[in-house]
Symmetry: C2
Subunit: 307 residues, 2 copies
């Protein structure tokens, strides 16, 4: 049976590229039968990567069958995976997020989690010498994933390993890192096709802090005005999204990749309280700028307080 | 702060040796400050290993402090770890068991699980070229762990990697594998110092099957008669152990390493039902021999039915 390789729901670049990379490795190096699939429509940057490196868009699947062999990359969180994930035959988990618990396996499997910025960096290390057999498309996907997750090395999640591997790949591919990252971020920043609710759910994690359920959304962009010009609509959409998703509040951080700052939308007093308690700031009006804040994992999640 | 490295409660050879190996690596190669500790008295084979390779017995600890840095080897099961484990600062988990869930980390950490017979095999692979710096004692501990977990390659959990690494270590150390394994198993088989209840809990895992709570205990030995001659006392001790530990039944499998078979004690009709439903056998009397059964992980857990 074919091993289905996938990342998390609402696939970003790493959750689109890493399944393609790992499926290539399983097929071509390990001689297994594997294929990359997606758990939703890839975001605009991921779609750019597919196009740029000549990949067909992988099939989008809903659930997994009982006993179906699967390989998970870029998450270990059952909430971000198909509903029947614990009934599947999970062969491996490769990830760079904190362990949240909830996945159980019937036997010992291959699990590899490392505190690196990007799953593709871990895959590069695991593939090792066999990278010599990788086609340009696989190397290109790896480079794109690393530049995406590190925001071209601007994010504080970036490690020396992510950086060194990205530079090695770029040199081999003859790609200019800064110029290529600019193209990627332009693709990511073009969010005109998305509804307000889609934007709020595009790169979003659920998080409970002091009993308050938060949907913590980020939008990384080089064109923050394109999003902030829609802030009144976004604020009113937050009410519906929170209700539909069973959250108390939606926090939307618009991350300006070039200025290296985040703008948090402040639709009401509760979010104002959260912002002031968490970020040592004073809020007046319906937005607040948080200088230097680039990473949900490193700079938002660890400091969030209910207010 | 010193990183405490430990395996599971009721430490066997792998849970005694692997903390010593990983603490050596963290100290000597990575330049961190680490020390091996134990979560209980090591078994007789583990004690033999400490003596044979010149280790002092590591300190036995009870709980861990909030925020204390720890590295976990040979388990990912909170039930086998200190009560406050999720309040500690877990730096890494290296294991070869199925994922049971229940450990949560605050950030991404290093996790490595592989379907190999022994944690020490994974450590050998992770240490890689730096094995050249390892003293004899560390190599000796690794060899002992692998021979213990594979029952000198007799267990069906044994992989080619476990075998190849053990042979490489034995050659470097000038150790005759079969002769050395015999010494180890003789040490493990000398259980005269243990009470019946201690024997029942020595190498034991809790397991729920179809709503029945089982304490599944194995005793690997080259002298099964030493244990089976105590079977009446063991059967009556099972009643108390089950009650104290909140289990419905205790299943004791006496594994004859040389004959490659297990003898299951059958103290009552419920265990008889479990044995007949699980192992395709007929039970008459208070024991049943299960030819070829050597591994709880591979041959007992996956087939257990409540009867």
């Amino acid at each position: 049976m074919t091993i289905q390789v996938f990342g998390h729901k609402s696939p970003d670049t790493d959750s689109t590229g890493s399944p393609l990379i790992w499926a290539w490795y399983l097929n071509e190096v390990r001689g297994e039968d594997a294929r990359a699939v997606l758990l939703g429509e890839p975001n605009t940057e991921a779609a750019f990567m597919l196009d740029r490196w000549g990949f067909d868009k992988p099939e989008i699947i809903g659930d997994v069958d009982e006993g179906a062999p699967v390989a998970i990359v870029d998450t270990n969180n059952p909430a971000e995976l198909p509903a029947s994930i614990n009934k599947a035959d999970i062969r491996s988990i490769i990830d760079h997020h904190k362990l949240v618990g909830g996945i159980e396996t019937k036997g010992p499997i291959q699990i590899r989690v490392e505190p690196l910025a990007c799953t593709a960096t871990i895959l590069y290390k695991m593939i090792g010498k066999d990278m010599a057999r990788a086609p340009k498309s696989i190397k290109g996907a790896m480079l794109t994933c690393i530049l995406s997750d590190t925001l071209a090395f601007r994010s504080p999640t970036t490690t020396q390993e992510d950086k060194a591997i990205a530079h090695a790949l770029a040199e081999e591919l003859g790609v200019d890192v800064e110029g290529y990252a600019e193209e990627m971020f332009a693709a990511k920043s073009d969010v005109s096709a998305f509804s307000d609710a889609e934007l709020l759910r595009m790169d979003s994690k659920e998080y409970e802090v002091d009993g308050t359920k938060l949907r913590v959304s980020v939008l990384e962009t080089t064109a923050p005005d394109q999003i902030l010009s829609r802030k009144d609509d976004l604020k009113s959409s937050m009410v519906d999204v929170a209700k539909e998703d069973g959250a108390d509040e939606v926090l939307l951080f618009v991350i300006d990749i070039l200025k290296e700052e985040a703008t948090l939308l402040v639709p009401n007093d509760r979010v104002k309280g959260i912002a002031e308690a968490s970020f040592d700031t004073q809020v007046s009006g319906d937005t607040v700028v948080l200088p230097g804040v680039m990473s949900r994992k490193k700079q938002i999640m660890p400091v969030l307080k209910a207010g």
